[in-house]
């Protein structure tokens, strides 16, 4: 290969550029607006996100445009993922200042780190070489390690940051050791890998590289034997960060996972399909079983995240044209539900634990009907109940798996969906049908009874309502999104 370097259409980098610039400015502004700058920083950040979103829409890459010598290639798929990440970031910014103030945290680097992480997520689906993919994953993860441990006062949060870092770095090492793929094919760019795989030299070394790469991705995507960090990290992180992680990281990682498999490793499909088949079954079943008895809402959502990762693997295995838009639709529906429910968790969380227990939700329907209704919608969407976005997502995803001929896997997924009804509806039942516990708690002292009765403040409610509306709209008129998604086949 000659060393030709074409910068390409640099304007496609504009949205990411805006986000990176905003991150740097936020560091500066934090110093200038020392002290109580939380709200102003978030406002500035929101403005930057809107500008980046507009830039992304204006320079929507209808045709794939390679940038920086082919290391990145922006196309519809990357643009949709970037827009989703921006939306999630915006919702996180709405919730963050209020939550930080309640937890007694200083703003500071928090917003800059969120933006840096988002820039990694926006670049990730555009990355075309394994090196750029790994670097984007690092760019996405490193700020999140810090954010997970941001609430340093709480032992939980420190622990979450530490565990996330250790296992994340462990996973990165596996990914980087996919050096074997380079060694046998002589290239790290996805398209060229696909071309040179059939004639690749040493098959055993190649499969070793593939296996290591899959382990790395399985860690990042929270698939079952490598899921151990998820519940701890989700529970311990500050709640808006959990929402950001659960939604945006999942979108970015699954998008790039799909792209690596479909674009780079299709000639090895028989091997990774088998591996993912096993992982999908373990992930769905284990995630569901462990979710059944969770009392903490954040932990419940963490196990549900694992289960949903299992469903998404169906789309990865199918790896056909339907799967691309199905996976994206599912990810967007899931993001809306999870960021909305975590906004409500943040609203009801106590300062001591930064978490909500299902027993705290008793009688919530009487006290805060609007918030309870929104949470009900999120739970229904996570189940995949008709008229919600989750339903459409599941139908699309399962149809893609059906079309690819994975009937047995499909049946296991459907059974798992039914099992999951139990624990999602337990949340709804606590809000609507269980009386508010009073007498015993009053005797115990005000601590527990006084926990989450406060009225949901407007930032949390705004986010919850936006997410709920998105879920209903996408559930009733899925075409509104599918039109966009049809542009992103690759």
């Amino acid at each position: 290969m000659g060393v030709s370097f074409a910068a390409g259409n640099i304007l496609s980098l504009l949205p990411v550029g805006v986000i990176v610039l905003a991150a740097l400015l936020l560091v500066l502004l934090e110093v200038l607006w020392a002290g109580r700058a939380n709200r102003r920083l978030a406002g500035f950040g929101g403005l930057a996100v809107v500008v980046a979103g507009i830039a992304q829409l204006v320079y929507f890459p209808l045709l794939p445009s390679p940038v920086l010598g082919g290391a990145l290639r922006f196309d519809g798929f990357a643009a949709i993922v970037a827009l989703t990440v921006l939306a999630v970031l915006f919702l996180t910014l709405i919730v963050s200042p209020a939550h930080m103030a309640r937890m007694g945290l200083r703003g500071g680097e928090y917003y800059a780190l969120l933006f840096l992480s988002a820039s990694g997520m926006m670049l990730l689906p555009a990355a075309r070489g394994l090196v750029s993919i790994i670097i984007c994953i690092e760019l996405l993860s490193l700020p999140l390690y810090v954010l997970a441990g941001y609430n340093r006062r709480l032992a939980f949060s420190r622990e979450a940051g530490f565990k996330y870092f250790l296992l994340g770095a462990f996973a990165s090492a596996f990914m980087i050791y996919a050096a074997f793929i380079w060694g046998t094919t002589g290239t790290l760019s996805l398209g060229v890998i696909a071309e040179s795989l059939p004639s690749a030299g040493n098959r055993a070394l190649l499969l070793l590289g593939l296996g290591l790469l899959l382990v790395g991705f399985a860690f990042k995507a929270a698939l079952a034997p490598f899921h151990a960090w998820v519940p701890d990290v989700y529970e311990g992180s500050p709640t808006p960060v959990t929402g950001f992680m659960a939604a945006a990281v999942k979108v970015a990682v699954f998008a790039v996972f799909l792209r690596v498999l479909m674009e780079g490793l299709m000639p090895l499909a028989e091997f990774w399909r088998l591996a993912l088949y096993v992982l999908a079954i373990i992930t769905m079943c284990l995630g569901n079983l462990l979710a059944l008895h969770q009392m903490s809402l954040k932990r419940l959502l963490a196990y549900s995240a694992i289960t949903h990762a299992g469903y998404l693997v169906l789309g990865l295995i199918a790896a056909n044209a339907e799967a691309v838009s199905a996976v994206l639709f599912y990810l967007i529906a899931y993001s809306a539900a999870v960021i909305g429910s975590l906004a409500l968790v943040a609203a009801w969380a106590t300062r001591r634990t930064d978490d909500v227990y299902i027993s705290d939700l008793r009688g919530m329907a009487e006290r805060q009907p609007l918030a309870a209704l929104a949470l009900t919608f999120f739970m229904l969407s996570l189940i995949g109940f008709p008229i919600t976005a989750g339903f459409v997502g599941k139908v699309l995803l399962f149809y893609a798996a059906y079309k690819a001929g994975y009937i047995a896997l499909l049946i296991i997924a459907i059974i798992n969906t039914m099992v999951s009804v139990y624990y999602y509806l337990r949340v709804v039942q606590a809000m609507y049908f269980l009386p508010r516990e009073q007498p015993e708690d009053a005797a115990e002292g005000g601590l527990k009874a006084a926990a989450p009765v406060s009225v949901v403040a407007w930032p949390y409610l705004t986010v919850a309502l936006i997410s709920a509306v998105a879920i209903v709209v996408l559930g009733l008129v899925p075409r509104s999104l599918l039109v966009w998604l049809s542009m992103c086949s690759f």
Partner: protein
């Protein structure tokens, strides 16, 4: 493959395994962290060995890039470990276990 490439790859695999075992078996965060560094550098060694095998310089450049990545990871990781230490006055993974279930 030339013998030197094979030797380097074997060495790299041994280093990677040692690093992995250090993460899985040892309980001291610093040692676990060193294990991760060992794994990363084993990967770099593999890249350099393959670079020789394929007669391309790319592998050495990639190894340099990943060294920078590893350095960034070290900066973050040590900061996190120090922040835990400041609150607890000791670092032992078994003591960092209030989250479970």
């Amino acid at each position: 493959m030339e013998p030197i490439v094979v030797y380097s790859l074997v060495l790299s695999a041994v280093l990677f395994t040692m690093g992995m075992l250090a993460v899985l078996v040892r309980r001291n965060p610093i040692i676990m962290f060193m294990g991760i560094e060992l794994m990363l550098n084993a990967a770099n060694l593999a890249f350099i060995a393959f670079s020789r095998h394929l007669d391309k310089l790319d592998g050495q450049v990639i190894a340099l890039i990943f060294m920078a990545v590893a350095a960034a990871e070290v900066a973050i990781g040590l900061a996190i470990i120090v922040s835990i230490y400041r609150y607890r006055r000791d670092v032992d993974v078994d003591a960092v276990n209030s989250l479970r279930g």
